[in-house]
């Protein structure tokens, strides 16, 4: 099989390895090392997509990251990957890609009608068209815009590929392995610096791969190969290809995405598909090169129009001809290099040079090779719809305003060169204010903002000699500052062709009576007329023009379009480009996959999963787990075909009747130690702590400084200067930070230390009327009688040889104890409790039964202490000391907190005693009142009371104290329910608290 556009004796692809792939369902082949773009061009395929707005045919414009529109959808291992640049994606066996933005096919696209309706799609048409009527938004406009937006379709399946993050530190990060990157890396590495050299492309060398130069008596390619080989062998150097440094963040943190498996049919074993590198570099050398600028003329988006540097790279790197009858349209010498390359490969190009009488080494060489050149000539418009077939060309007057002698000539591609734009994105992201350089008509970085320097053509240096000298010196200088070594390598001599000045002319005027679209931004379909319109409509700031017209937006970030856009605005406004300024360059420089950004933090790995030491037992005993913060807790233990409702009712009932055991390991535990511990607790909690005796526990509430309840829990005095504090599961980390804040910053004079001991202790709550009988069997040598171990008492005891701590505290409202042992003995403790508890009908209970028990007792938890309540609201005002000061006390006097009808917790029972009240329901007086119905408060927690066998809820409502006994309504607009209810005391069961003291 031969390929019509493949050259035999040139290129770097591996001719020994053919690779087949499909594009839009049709099979093609290429060689190992081809990109989708080079392989398709070799097969003569130029139509790859449709444009964003007008659905005009799209081909290839660039050869790498510069590509604005050859964006495809890729299929790999049954996964879809959108937004793939054909010029970057390497082919592999079995690769499947297809076009986007077209329906039903790229050849026949219905959306192309937009091209004929283009008068209705001017700049800002979104804002003009989709305004009225407002009711159209939801059903018509939004779906329409969504359908039209984007480049491809993301997969909604779980991505099975692995992505990784890596943190790295280095002395010097060099972004780009062109001549400046290689030279500076070599100089710095030889001077002992730890260097990372990142190259976006698979091949190292940058412009050396395609330019006809000589460094130290070697060709550019040979020299770059030698340098790379030596760098790779050095232990202080990391060299990475297929790696794009896409963002420059604060404090010299740069982020790089490494595409490890994207070019392979399948990700290799033990390797991720992509790796995101967070690199903290002491110094950065930005050697990201420059991108060729387009020239602007009629229909300059037709497939077959492309950058002349791209055409040259397709020949020299891939051995591919972009056309056999090329037209080179240039305003500088770069176009000549492409023409010479065509000529060397047996193709006769025609050069149109906008300059009148330029002369240089390169131009002479082209002339000597017999290449036809027309000076003072321009392309007026490309002709052909899906591919360039011919071009209207003309002589241009000396003042560049008038077109003379328009004629049509045949051609199959137009290679344009409008000079070069340094890629200053990274420097700009670092905060470097760029400056406009008149000599090259482009912005270059100014003074370093962070620890960055820009070198080579990214810094506006367009001769190799300058570049190499600058890079060697900079590499040495920067490394010398870091390592203080003085190993200077000698700078090789450079031989290159001399070029002459470029022409500032960039936009071909329209011939009389013609209205060709002349595109500036190829990705976003922004034409000259759009910018003109925006300015006519009064947009002045370049940032506004950008947003109104979409110039330089989206994945392309204006790589090829920015400067021409600025040039146009300044021309119309009679300004110069630096007065107009440029828009902000934002990371990422190129699109980064969501997978790489997320890394391994997906699914269960998105947060740590904490398990109690008894987890395995729960699992074996049919526990159904629930996420409680980062913990996994048993929600209920399923027996047979039980539902959640049935199981939790059974478990809760058994606690009320016999005895249950609940895993409370997840409770936050903090050791508070020191001679001033009592005084500290006294300031932290709202109630008094100075007189708590050793061996006793106390329930406490702590506030934030604004008076809102932060957390509650019991704290036990273990010994004179040692307290064991418990917090809720959710607030454990915050409470520790809170305590540390006050100890370190506010009251450093207090001699107290706090440390988290949550993971040191496994806890089991034993609750129910049989709990004491069970305890007596568990701790036969310890007196656990009501006298020896009263409510809120504490004892250390021996559990079958294991030291244990018994706290007589109760969340369920029953006679209850919490037993703690060191975590490693947690499972032992649990199994002993279950084993010994059998004769007392013990059953384990989960969080659902736990909730039921506490709700019907009126004990508050997170759903009441929700960051909006003060102690009064939760009926905890009895715990607020009037005598002493504490954190947040001063706020409790705020007028909103002391108003007579302040919200308070109440109980809610449905009148029919059967309808459960959805959590979050509003409590209202009149369900038929006009909306918005004035609400009295909301239902915070609901359960099925096992004591009374009917639904019961807690609610926090206005003037709650005086509402008890009233008949009101619970309304849930979400569930569309209105339930007549009676307000009762929040202490539904055992209001006197007799059971816990029994």
């Amino acid at each position: 099989m031969s390929q019509d556009f493949r050259l035999d004796n040139i290129g770097m692809v591996n001719r020994n390895k053919k690779i087949s792939f499909t594009f839009n369902g049709k099979k093609y082949f290429g060689y190992e090392g081809d990109t989708i773009a080079s392989a398709l061009i070799a097969n003569g395929v130029h139509l790859v997509g449709r444009s964003f707005k007008y659905h005009r045919p799209r081909g290839f414009f660039g050869v790498g990251v510069d590509e604005p529109y050859a964006i495809l959808q890729l299929e790999r291992n049954n996964e879809r990957d959108p937004n793939i640049r054909a010029t970057e994606q390497e082919i592999f066996e079995g690769l499947e890609v297809k076009s986007v933005n077209c329906w039903p096919s790229v050849n026949f696209d219905i959306g192309a009608i937009n091209n004929f309706l283009k008068m209705f799609f001017p700049a800002g048409f979104y804002y003009k068209t989709f305004m009225w009527p407002p009711s159209f938004w939801y059903k018509i406009y939004e779906p329409f815009i969504r359908m039209a937006a984007g480049f491809g379709e993301a997969s909604i399946k779980h991505d099975k590929e692995r992505y990784e993050h890596k943190y790295e530190y280095c002395d010097l990060l060099i972004t780009g392995s062109g001549p400046s990157g290689l030279a500076s890396a070599y100089a710095a590495a030889k001077n002992g610096a730890r260097v990372i050299l990142a190259e976006d492309k698979p091949r190292y060398g940058g412009s050396l791969l395609t330019s006809d130069v000589n460094i130290g008596n070697q060709t550019g390619v040979e020299w770059s190969e030698k340098i790379i080989t030596e760098l790779k062998s050095m232990s202080n150097v990391i060299v990475k290809n297929r790696s794009q440094v896409f963002g420059y963040y604060d404090h010299n943190m740069l982020v790089m995405s490494e595409r490890i498996g994207d070019h392979l049919p399948k990700t290799q074993k033990y390797l991720p598909k992509q790796r995101l590198w967070y690199i903290r570099a002491k110094e950065v050398l930005i050697s990201s090169g420059s991108i060729e600028r387009p020239l602007v003329f009629g229909n300059n988006d037709t497939p077959g129009v492309m950058l002349s540097s791209a055409a040259k790279e397709y020949m020299k790197v891939y051995g591919v001809l972009v056309g056999k009858k090329p037209l080179i349209f240039t305003n500088n010498d770069s176009g000549y290099e492409t023409a010479i390359e065509f000529k060397k490969n047996g193709v006769n190009p025609l050069i149109l040079d906008t300059r009148k009488e330029p002369s240089s080494d390169i131009i002479s060489e082209a002339k000597n090779l017999g290449i036809e050149i027309k000076f003072s000539h321009v392309v007026v418009a490309a002709k052909g719809y899906k591919k360039v077939k011919s071009a209207d060309i003309a002589k241009i007057s000396d003042n560049k305003k008038d077109l003379l002698n328009i004629e049509n000539i045949e051609c199959d591609c137009i290679c344009v060169s409008g000079f070069w734009t340094p890629s200053i994105h990274l420097a700009s992201q670092s905060g470097n204010k760029s400056e406009f350089n008149e000599k090259i008509d482009a912005f270059i970085p100014k003074k370093s903002k962070q620890k960055e320097n820009t070198i080579g053509s990214a810094n506006g240096k367009f001769t190799l000699e300058e570049t190499i000298n600058e890079a060697f010196n900079k590499g040495y200088e920067v490394s010398n500052n870091i390592t203080e070594n003085n190993n200077k390598v000698s700078i090789p001599t450079v031989v290159e062709k001399k070029s002459t000045e470029h022409d500032k002319f960039w936009c071909v005027p329209l011939p009389k009576g013609k209205s060709y679209k002349r595109f500036l931004d190829f990705q976003n379909d922004v034409a000259v007329t759009d910018i003109e319109l925006a300015l006519r409509e009064g947009f002045r700031s370049i940032e506004h023009v950008k947003r109104y017209t979409t110039l330089g937006m989206a994945t392309d970030q204006g790589k090829t379009s920015n400067l021409n856009g600025l040039q146009l605005v300044s021309d119309i406004e009679n300004k110069v480009v630096p007065q107009v300024g440029h828009t902000t360059f934002r990371p990422p420089y190129t699109p980064v996959s969501i997978g790489a950004i997320v890394g391994r933090e997906v699914g269960k790995h998105s947060k740590p999963t904490r398990k109690s030491p008894m987890h395995d037992w729960h699992e074996k005993n049919n526990a159904v787990f629930v996420d409680a913060g980062v913990w996994l807790r048993p929600r209920y233990y399923k027996q047979g075909n039980e539902t959640l409702f049935e199981a939790s009712k059974r478990e809760a009932k058994n606690v009320r009747k016999n005895v249950g055991v609940c895993d409370v390991t997840t409770l936050g535990k903090i050791d508070v130690k020191g001679p001033d511990a009592a005084e500290f607790l006294n300031r932290v909690y709202t109630n008094a702590w100075l007189k708590l005796p050793v061996g006793k526990a106390r329930y406490g509430v702590m506030l934030r400084e604004d008076g809102i309840v932060m957390d509650d829990g019991t704290t036990t005095r273990i010994s004179e200067n040692h307290y064991h504090m418990t917090t809720t599961t959710a607030q454990a980390a915050n409470v520790l930070s809170h305590l540390e804040y006050y100890l370190q910053l506010v009251w450093p004079e207090l001699n107290v230390n706090v440390v988290s001991t949550t993971e040191q202790w496994a806890g089991a709550a034993i609750a129910g009327p049989n709990s004491r009988a069970l305890l007596m069997k568990l701790f036969p040598n310890t007196d656990v009688s009501n006298e020896a171990l009263p409510f809120m008492g504490y004892k250390e005891a021996d559990l079958f040889g294991i030291p244990a701590k018994i706290y007589r505290i109760s969340f369920s409202g029953e006679l209850a104890y919490e037993v703690n042992v060191e975590s490693d003995y947690g499972n032992f403790m649990w199994e002993k409790i279950i084993e010994v508890g059998k004769e007392f009908q013990i059953q384990p209970y989960g969080t659902e039964a736990l909730s039921t028990l506490r709700i019907e007792m009126g004990h508050v938890a997170g759903s009441e202490l929700d960051g909006r309540t003060i102690p009064h609201d939760a009926s905890l005002e009895g715990l607020v000391s009037k005598k002493k000061d504490f954190i947040g006390k001063r706020s409790l006097g705020r007028s909103a907190f002391i108003k007579p009808d302040r919200e308070k917790i109440v109980g809610v029972v449905p009148l029919d005693k059967t309808t459960s009240i959805p959590e979050g329901s509003y409590i209202v007086k009149d369900p038929k009142a006009k909306l918005p119905n004035p609400k009295l408060g909301h239902v915070s927690a609901s359960c099925w009371s096992v004591e009374y066998d009917n639904p019961f809820s807690l609610a926090i409502i206005k003037d709650g104290k005086n509402m008890i006994g009233q008949k009101l309504f619970a309304m849930s607009p979400l569930k569309n329910k209105t339930i007549p209810v009676e307000i009762v005391s929040s202490h539904y069961v055992d209001p006197e608290g007799k059971r816990v003291r029994a």
Binding site: D250, H251, S737, Q744, P748
Partner: protein
């Protein structure tokens, strides 16, 4: 991501720290009679300066010490860091 010099641990990435707000706020002494206005200022009012700002950071995934960081809020430049009990300039 910022690179913060912890006076106890050395330079560490921002993701080891939690932000703690204005470090110049001083809590009124306990049991001291103060006006509503003073209390209100302490609890709620914070300046949001553009430029130098002395702020608290908590090295939660490190030494668990609260530190003071002098940072430029518009450029993120960090001028100096202090231990909690160190006097700031």
């Amino acid at each position: 991501m910022l690179y913060i010099f912890c006076p106890h641990c050395g330079s560490r990435s921002q993701n080891e720290f939690a932000y703690g707000g204005d470090a110049t706020v001083k809590r009124p002494e306990l049991n001291k009679e103060i006006s509503d206005q003073e209390w209100d200022n302490f609890v709620y009012l914070r300046k949001s300066p553009r430029g130098k700002h002395l702020e608290l950071w908590h090295h939660i995934s490190g030494c668990r010490q609260w530190i003071k960081v002098e940072r430029d809020t518009s450029t993120h430049e960090i001028f100096k860091t202090y231990k909690a009990d160190e006097l700031t300039e």
